[in-house]
């Protein structure tokens, strides 16, 4: 187990390293690096000074070296627009995004697994067919347009929920969150639904497929032969067996949720890091772009790592065998 984790950690480092190379050469080497790092309104003289100061006259590999050294110290440059360290800017916006992402994931788990098991147990029921058609729509309708329709329906026509912004936040268990106030929750509902629809559709289908497959297995019939209640069969015997792929996918989807938060945040004017990156791209605030990319890449690597470890922990067959060797 430890060996596995160490091996997996080393892989992560390699991925992070290669991603830093790609991001560096992508952002820094394509186009003129001076344009990336120096404010566009600087004079020629200021530019020359800055080029020397930033080491842009150095060979590329040396520049990469200093980029890595700085990045490791948390220095990813200053935002042109906000005149703040780019990394700090992103970290300030991250909680809002994480809150949105976790809420969306919660919605996904509750509805996706519930609906999936229902559809798997009663594949021919009208409600199941309805859910499956709905899930196809959830797959096919582009994310951003789902958001627009939600706004159109619930904000513009029905006027039930606000169309954008984060609303009032408060402290809950020492965390600043929208969950603390009614206003905050009202602002959270539509973005969270928007962000979760696609995942819910995915998890529903996955759970349904897993359920249908598992229900045909001998151990389910055997559990019934033991006289267990349907609740125990579904809640323990079935769920434990279909859980591993679901958790794996959920883990990976968490990364996707953070990526797709870019869209949701733009539509609902949610002040997270996704909105920040779009704003930064539009004004070419490149240090923020670089910092965002590195933060998101790191997040992904951590998530993938956690999912892999979780996978081995959850499955007794894998778990014990690893211990044995």
């Amino acid at each position: 187990m430890t060996i596995f984790i160490i091996r997996r950690l080393m892989q992560s480092v390699v991925v992070l390293f290669s991603m830093s190379v790609i991001v560096f050469f992508g952002v820094f080497a394509i186009g003129n690096p001076a344009d990336i790092l120096i404010a566009p309104d600087a004079t020629q003289e200021e530019r020359d000074i800055a080029i020397v100061r930033l080491g842009l006259d150095q060979p590329l590999w040396k520049q990469y070296g200093s980029f890595v050294v700085n990045a490791l110290q948390g220095d990813m440059g200053q935002s042109f627009v906000f005149s703040e360290p780019a990394l700090k800017l992103i970290m300030k916006r991250a909680p809002a995004t994480l809150e949105l992402a976790f809420t969306a994931l919660l919605v996904t788990v509750l509805f996706g697994i519930g609906a999936g098991i229902w559809c798997g147990l009663k594949p021919d029921a009208l409600s199941s067919r309805g859910i499956m058609v709905g899930s196809i729509l959830g797959f096919s309708i582009p994310h951003f347009w789902q958001g627009l329709v939600l706004i159109m329906l619930f904000s513009v026509y029905l006027g039930w929920l606000p169309a954008g912004g984060r609303g009032e936040t408060g402290e809950l268990f020492g965390i600043t969150t929208s969950m603390a106030t009614m206003d905050g929750i009202r602002h959270l509902i539509l973005p969270a639904i928007n962000l979760s629809l696609f995942k819910t559709a995915l998890i529903t289908r996955l759970t349904r497929a897993g359920t249908r497959e598992a229900m045909l297995m001998d151990y389910i019939k055997y559990a019934r032969a033991k006289g267990l209640s349907p609740r125990r069969i579904v809640g323990v015997h079935l769920l434990k067996n279909i859980m591993i792929p679901i958790i794996t996918v959920l883990g990976m989807e968490f990364g996707r949720v953070i990526a797709f938060a870019v869209i949701t945040e733009t539509i609902f004017a949610w002040p997270g890091m996704g909105k920040l990156i779009i704003d930064s791209i539009n004004v070419l605030d490149r240090p923020v772009i670089v910092a965002y990319l590195m933060v998101v890449v790191s997040m992904f690597i951590v998530i993938n790592l956690v999912v892999d470890i979780l996978y081995t922990v959850l499955d007794p067959r894998v778990r014990i065998d690893e211990v044995g060797t």
């Binding site: 394509i30 951003f144 159109m152 797709f260 869209i263 791209i281 539009n282 890449v297």
Partner: protein, 302 residues
Amino acid sequence: MKKNTGSTSTPFFDTPMGNLLKEYCENRLAVLALGAVVIIILIAVFAPVLAPQDPYDLAQLDIMDSTLQPMSESESGMVYWLGSDGQGRDMLSAIMYGLRTSLSVGVFSGLLAFLIGSLVGLLAAYFGGKLETFVMRLVDLQLSFPAMLVALMLLAVLGQGVGKIIFALVVVQWSYYARSARGSALSERNKEYIEAARCLRLPVRRVIFRHLLPNVAPSLIVIATVQVAHAITLEATLSFLGLGLPITQPSLGLLISNGYHYLLSGKYWISFYPGVALVLTIVCINLVGDKLRDIMNPRLKQ
């Protein structure tokens, strides 16, 4: 020799393609979706002929006709079936033109990715070794990030433009083809007919294109349909975020984006109808792809 066994009466349905067609036609929804896809393509191709108005000929636009409700009639007697946008542009025409842009970007990038990806995948499977390891590592690395994010990164670096978005879409998509092409080619490679072809010392090119490719093609075609839908969605999303196509070539995504601000003041049609067109396109393509996948996947056949 003289006896005719009479099995030649339906020669077409005995071919693999014929069987495929027959099986496809068994599902009414799938046939309907295929018909819709054909109609959508025709609309896109013949948009300049079909559209009531050239939405990008400024001479035809009148600012007095801006943000008209659907079904309203302008002073010049033209009916705006789906309303008009802020510049007095007929939405129906704009959607037809937008469809043209969206489809061509989606199909073109899909085709390019198809070619590059499957070629790389086939080569990797055929030659194996370091090339294969390298390619598959790259594919795995890329696929561990959402396509949206990769495209976003690329466009953040490259900037806007038709060529750039196609480039980004190809980069995002090639890996799916590469993975699938390698996967199916690997299982084919170990079969005896490839062994036989190799023993005959047929040139590599011939083995790959005449023997491997036809056997790998079905699964790649399924991926291609789904990927084109994916590319259209992705392009629309990026355009919506303002990172995709320039305003001079508005796709459906950009139309939706333009109508976004009107939406909040209740003028829903400017972004709603382009969205409906987009969703219909994607849903129909996906339905076709789903059915194709069901046919091709022998595990699901019962």
